[in-house]
């Protein structure tokens, strides 16, 4: 046993047990106090309750509390005498220490008072430090929340555009320092607008969340995926080669397609198009994203549901696309859309009975443009409704003039209506106004829609079609045979005409399957009281077969290509004259 003083250092032991980081600091300190003086009982009391207590049972605690007013120096428990020492801890708190059998000597009493004072001061410091920490922590959390607020897209929980740009900037800095390659995948959902238009924004949001979850799951450690805006997502990847990016993009497309279809999401089968751009020295976040965006548009132009890598030539193509879009808007505003008319003739007498209106763009510099030059841009720019309306209007105006210039039979007019127009709840209003303004009779107007357009969104279509029916307008089902070929909607809607797709007409002759199909369709239509138009008729042999099957009307280059209204009018008048001559001869 050493003769060295043993008590003074114990204050240091007790103080060193205080730790701001330990949630059990006070408990640890009290344990140290007990161990220092070989005490069995230690407690911190306030009024009639314990903050801490070791060494006593619940009943024994009550016995100790009874001694608080008297501050007795002894407590007898189970035949053992515990010598007590009471140290003030500041305020109304007391530190009580009890040791079996041996009373505290003067040095120990001084030590325990010192410990009490140390605990009091340390506890205050500890409380102050913890309060400060908590305040700092709260401030830190608030800052983090603010940053999160500013950097996270709330719908999907993915990083937003701002955060993506910040991370891309950082990654491009590493590329500049030759620390690896950076690839951007620009992911755009195909036909997403239709989801919102046809099913509402809630359905659209659900699609976006599903897509975000999938992209998040497919993101490798170290890579980032975020939502740029609308239906545009961007993935930032460190991939060793462009081919790896293409493989990743293909996996994403497959996964999205499978997932959206399996969940019954009403999004077109393509699901998404992805543009890939690999960073090069000098790229900024904006240029790299632009490149990926251009590649994405290229993927869309190639048929959607695929990926494309950025090529410098795409920049010029994009510029051209932007120019075309701008000119298209100007063209619509400047009344440059023209309805060209292709004749529809009667199988019975060969005379022209009507026309299909087909869009042409009379461009002031580029000349007359056929739809394949601008319809894709119009679709991307959401201009199809305007084009539909312009063609309907122009066709009705032109053909109505024929009536005013010469009394006689007015031809039937078939005008195409796209899916977005049919989904537009104001379609019937537009048509009604056009008929009102132009004076074209509703009974002579057929709106041509494809089977797919009709069946894919029966709810929206039903509303419009019901209203159109009230106006006396009938439907012509375009490309019949290539889609569902369902009979149910033929009965449900005011369908007046079936147009058999040109692919069946070109195969007529020689007892082919097409013969059987066309004959069956014609028979079925007749039995339902519908008229049939055969499209793409180009030969006399086809005419013979169609006449044999009982087809009512014929349309195709054999009877005339689409032509300007003036030419068509002349053609129509000539046909009327010819019919009149035939009647007179007979």
């Amino acid at each position: 046993m050493s003769s060295a003083p043993w008590s003074l250092h114990l204050l240091g032991e007790v103080l060193s047990a205080f730790s701001v980081d330990s949630p059990t600091a006070l408990r640890d300190v009290v344990s140290r106090v007990a161990e220092a003086v070989d005490a069995e009982i230690t407690a911190i009391l306030r009024h009639d309750s314990f903050s801490l207590c070791t060494g006593l049972t619940q009943d024994e605690k009550g016995r100790l509390l009874e001694l608080v007013p008297s501050r007795s120096d002894r407590l007898v428990l189970e035949g053992t005498t515990y010598h007590l020492h009471w140290s003030p801890l500041g305020g109304d708190q007391l530190l009580v220490v009890g040791r079996a059998n041996t009373a505290y000597d003067l040095e120990e009493r001084a030590l325990l008072r010192g410990m009490g004072r140390s605990i009091e001061l340390s506890t205050r410091v500890l409380d102050a430090v913890r309060a400060q920490r908590e305040a700092l922590q709260a401030e830190k959390l608030a800052k983090e929340a603010a940053i999160r607020e500013a950097t996270i897209d709330h719908l999907t929980g993915l990083p937003n555009r701002r955060e993506l740009l910040r991370q891309l900037r950082e990654r491009l800095r590493r590329v500049a320092e030759d620390q690896g390659q950076q690839t951007v995948l620009f992911i755009d959902l195909d036909h997403f607008k239709q989801v919102n238009d046809l099913h509402g924004h809630r359905a659209g949001d659900q699609v976006l969340r599903v897509v975000a979850d999938h992209l998040r799951a497919m993101t490798r450690a170290g890579d980032v995926v975020g939502r740029m805006s609308g239906d545009e997502f961007v993935m930032l990847c460190s991939l060793p080669a462009a081919a790896d990016a293409e493989r990743l993009a293909t996996r994403i497309l497959d996964a999205l397609r499978e997932s959206l279809q399996s969940q019954g999401m009403a999004i077109a089968s393509a699901a998404a198009s992805i543009g890939i751009a690999v960073a090069e020295a000098g790229d900024t976040p904006d240029t790299l994203l632009d490149n990926a965006d251009m590649a994405m548009y290229a993927a869309k132009q190639r048929g959607r549901g695929r990926c494309a890598r950025y090529l410098p030539s795409m920049r010029e193509q994009l510029a051209e696309r932007h120019r075309l879009e701008e000119e298209l808007r100007q063209g619509l505003a400047g009344d440059q859309m023209r309805a060209w008319l292709q004749p529809i003739v009667s199988t019975a007498h060969g005379g022209v009975v009507g026309f299909e209106a087909l869009v042409r763009w009379q461009h002031p510099q580029r000349g007359l443009l056929s739809p394949d030059r601008f319809l894709a841009v119009a679709e991307e720019a959401d201009l199809l409704r305007d084009i539909d309306a312009a063609v309907l209007s122009d066709a009705c105006i032109q053909v109505s003039r024929w009536q005013t210039s010469r009394k006689g039979l007015l031809p039937r007019l078939s005008v195409n209506v796209s899916a977005v127009s049919l989904a537009d709840r104001r379609l019937h209003e537009r048509v009604s106004r056009t008929l009102e303004v132009t004076g074209f009779p509703a009974a002579n107007l057929f709106l041509e829609i494809t089977e797919t357009t009709l069946v894919d969104d029966l709810v929206s279509a039903s509303v419009n079609i019901t209203e159109l029916e009230r106006l006396g307008i009938r439907l012509a089902i375009d490309d019949f045979g290539t889609g569902y070929s369902s009979l149910s909607y033929l009965k449900r809607f005011p369908v007046g005409i079936l147009k058999i797709d040109r692919s069946f007409i070109s195969g007529l002759g020689g007892g082919s399957e097409d013969d059987v199909i066309v004959e069956t369709v014609v028979k079925m239509a007749r039995s339902l009281g519908l008229e049939v138009v055969a499209e793409g008729v180009e030969t006399a042999a086809q005419v013979e077969r169609l006449r044999l099957f009982g087809c009512h009307y014929l349309q195709g280059y054999l009877y005339g290509a689409p032509a300007a209204a003036e030419v068509s009018e002349a053609r129509y008048r000539a046909s009327l004259d010819a019919q009149l001559g035939m009647v007179l001869q007979s």
């Binding site: 050493s2 240091g12 047990a17 070989d38």
Partner: protein, 405 residues
């Protein structure tokens, strides 16, 4: 190999009558076949009937899972706790790679057992408290004690005592040890009702009609002047008197060059050179088991609190032998004049190493103060628990004995 029949014949149980009211009996085996080993170790115990409590100390070289399961099956309704060890000790000699079963029985004892799980991050205080709660279901007799076995490599061992004390309070002495793993220092196991645990504390609350007493001895003496622990964190001793702890340690013991750079040499060297912490009327020993040559720190099994007064300790084979010889007598003298029916002896593994090097291990277990026929059994530990007064009671490089009247 020690056979059960040898053990039984050499150390027959003390009996009051045909059905002793309390008995303590020990059996052991070095057989590596689990069934034979368990049968051999249990044979002398089952002669006296089903034990109330069996405590299994088992080398990791044995199939612990099978052994503990077999023991539990064999003792039926008896309680079983145990742990992996760093050597098993029985009167007259020590085992290596064997197993030992220490058991008590008879209507004069009541026993409950429990366990608690901890982890290296949070330590074992809560685990010990959980294990100690078995005392709440104990049918109390006049004398009660809590026996603990803890993972010896899971945080600060002192927390085991604190956790058990939180539950048991001032009136229940604590005794026990920290499990070993034959000095691999990798992982230890604890056993409760035939189930193997790790990072755990298992406990048996024992109540008896007759006294139970604890003896503590170590035999170490201060080598250095007292020093202040100026830096420590958990079980890492950083500085003594504001100098790097490793430098102070090596200098004071005049450590050879190899010890100053070779961890294995240091480990061997430190076995016999513990640190002592000054307490009110005793010195608690702390086992130094590794050094960080870069940080110049020491690692010990239990905390050396910052602010404490510490000594570098020294001992000799003779002082260690003396401590082992006297510890049973120290315990027995607190039995109120009654003779001991058996002893549990828990001794630090470092002391074993010291004696083994000198060929004195078996000699250390002759225990001259223990009467012939009284059973003695225990194991070599990674830390010893003995709380009889105060709230502390964790020791290293110490021998503790539990005597049962």
């Amino acid at each position: 190999m020690t056979s059960a029949s040898d053990t039984a014949s050499r150390f027959p149980a003390t009996s009051d009558a045909d059905e002793p009211r309390r008995w303590v009996r020990v059996g052991c085996s070095s057989d590596r076949d689990p069934q034979r080993a368990v049968a051999e170790a249990l044979a002398p115990i089952l002669e006296l009937g089903q034990p109330r409590l069996a405590v299994l100390f088992c080398s990791p070289a044995q199939d612990l899972r099978t052994v503990s399961s077999l023991v539990q099956q064999a003792i039926g309704d008896g309680e079983l706790i145990g742990c992996s060890s760093a050597g098993e000790l029985i009167r007259d000699h020590a085992l290596s790679g064997g197993l030992l079963i220490w058991a008590l029985g008879g209507p004069g004892f009541t026993v409950t057992t429990g366990y608690g799980l901890g982890n290296p991050d949070q330590g074992l205080r809560n685990a010990a408290a959980q294990a100690a709660r078995c005392i709440e279901a104990l049918e109390r007799r006049e004398h009660t004690l809590l026996f603990l076995l803890a993972d010896g490599l899971c945080g600060d061992q002192m927390e085991v005592v604190r956790g058990a004390y939180d539950v048991c309070g001032a009136h229940v002495p604590l005794m026990g040890g920290c499990a070993g793993d034959d000095m691999a220092l990798q992982s230890t196991r604890q056993i409760h009702e035939g189930t193997l645990l790790s990072h755990a504390v298992v406990a048996a609350a024992i109540s008896s009609d007759a006294p139970m007493a604890i003896g503590i001895a170590h035999g170490w003496k201060p080598l250095s002047e007292p020093m202040l622990v100026t830096g420590s964190q958990g079980t890492t001793l950083i500085s003594l008197d504001d100098r790097p702890a490793l430098d102070v340690y090596l200098e004071a013991y005049d450590a050879p060059a190899e010890v100053r750079e070779n961890p294995t040499a240091f480990f061997q060297f430190a076995h016999t050179r513990p640190i002592g912490i000054a307490r009110r009327n005793r010195t608690e020993i702390r086992y130094v088991y590794s050094a960080d040559y870069e940080a110049r720190t020491l690692t010990v099994f239990a905390e050396v609190p910052q602010g404490a007064m510490a000594y570098l300790m020294q001992g000799s084979c003779s002082s260690v032998l003396e401590a082992t010889a006297e510890v049973c007598a120290l315990a027995e003298q607190d039995l109120g004049g009654l003779p001991a029916r058996g002893f549990m002896l828990l001794e630090c593994v470092a002391r074993k190493s010291l004696l083994d090097q000198q060929g004195l291990l078996d000699a250390s277990l002759r225990l001259p103060t223990v009467k012939e026929g009284v059973s003695v059994g225990g194991f070599y530990t990674y830390g010893e628990i003995a709380r009889t007064e105060g709230a502390g009671g964790l020791h290293n490089q110490t021998v503790v004995a539990l005597a049962l009247a």
